[in-house]
Symmetry: C2
Subunit: 141 residues, 2 copies
DNA sequence: TTAAAATAGTTGTCTAGCTAACTATTTTAA
DNA sequence: TTAAAATAGTTAGCTAGACAACTATTTTAA
């Protein structure tokens, strides 16, 4: 039966998390997706980074990052400039609006995280990481 | 850091699984997506079921199922007829082509599953299920 | 020095997930 | 009996993931 399949449950849990997180953001009137938050966070931690770097951090491909960055730019949350040193590259930074948003977001995101992980023992917390990593490695890292 | 986040790892693992599985299907020249396989499988196990049922099994919403069913119909893998008893409902069944495909698919899918789960102890196998379920329940099942 | 290879990013095309709004039946309850 | 509510499915509009093919720079190696 499909529902007993671990793959199915991983995928299901991933969707559940995304949906839950998105609902929390929406309920706060925050007009970005969970995925866009991840991009904002990488840029916040690495000012003037480029799209390749963001993609490596989030393990997403170039077209996906390209489009997400455009969305964030359209929302005026980030600023995108061409690098003076290497004009193939783009330099990404947060706008004032983006910085303010991120400041507001951190506690909300932390809350989402804690909600999902409550009732998990320290041991469970550690072992799920190990197990997921093993699965990924089995599939060719 | 994002990459230590369990949510991120769950989502990453889900993507990894989907991509790996898709590549295996492609390498066998099988022209369906992993998600479409799940739908075929539900129909195979429940002949003349309807879209609501498929959606419940796979925890996907009506529009998603509607479109996937249309894709599978276009590929002539399933047959879709209106129920004589309740004309709101559709009756889904596998075509000959669909049945043949599923027969070929089962060992391939099983292989994908075993590849990812190799090196996992029985204990790890059980505990990941428990943990994922806890997370889903924490997020309001 | 210059042609080939590598790198950064974009565009196009497809599928899937999600929400909202819709049509068309069937069920229910006054 | 009939009007309201529930149910099944579709359509539209958006974002994201994946792949392929593309442009434009920069690096490299002959």
């Amino acid at each position: 039966m499909i529902n007993n399949n671990i793959y199915f449950q991983i995928e299901l849990t991933a969707r559940k998390i995304r949906r839950y997180g998105q609902n929390v953001l929406n309920s706060h009137g925050i007009d970005i997706t969970i995925e866009q938050w991840l991009v904002l966070n990488v840029i916040n931690e690495n000012e003037y980074t480029n799209q390749i770097y963001v993609g490596e951090k989030l393990v997403k491909d170039k077209p996906t990052i390209s489009r997400m960055v455009n969305h964030l730019e359209k929302k005026e949350l980030i600023v995108k400039t061409t690098s003076a040193i290497d004009s193939r590259k783009v330099e990404l930074s947060l706008s004032k609006k983006g910085k303010d948003l991120i400041t507001n977001l951190y506690p909300i995101i932390e809350n989402i995280r804690l909600t999902g992980l409550s009732k998990l023992s320290k041991n469970e917390n550690e072992s799920i990481e190990t197990i997921l990593k093993k699965i990924r490695e089995n599939l060719g890292d």
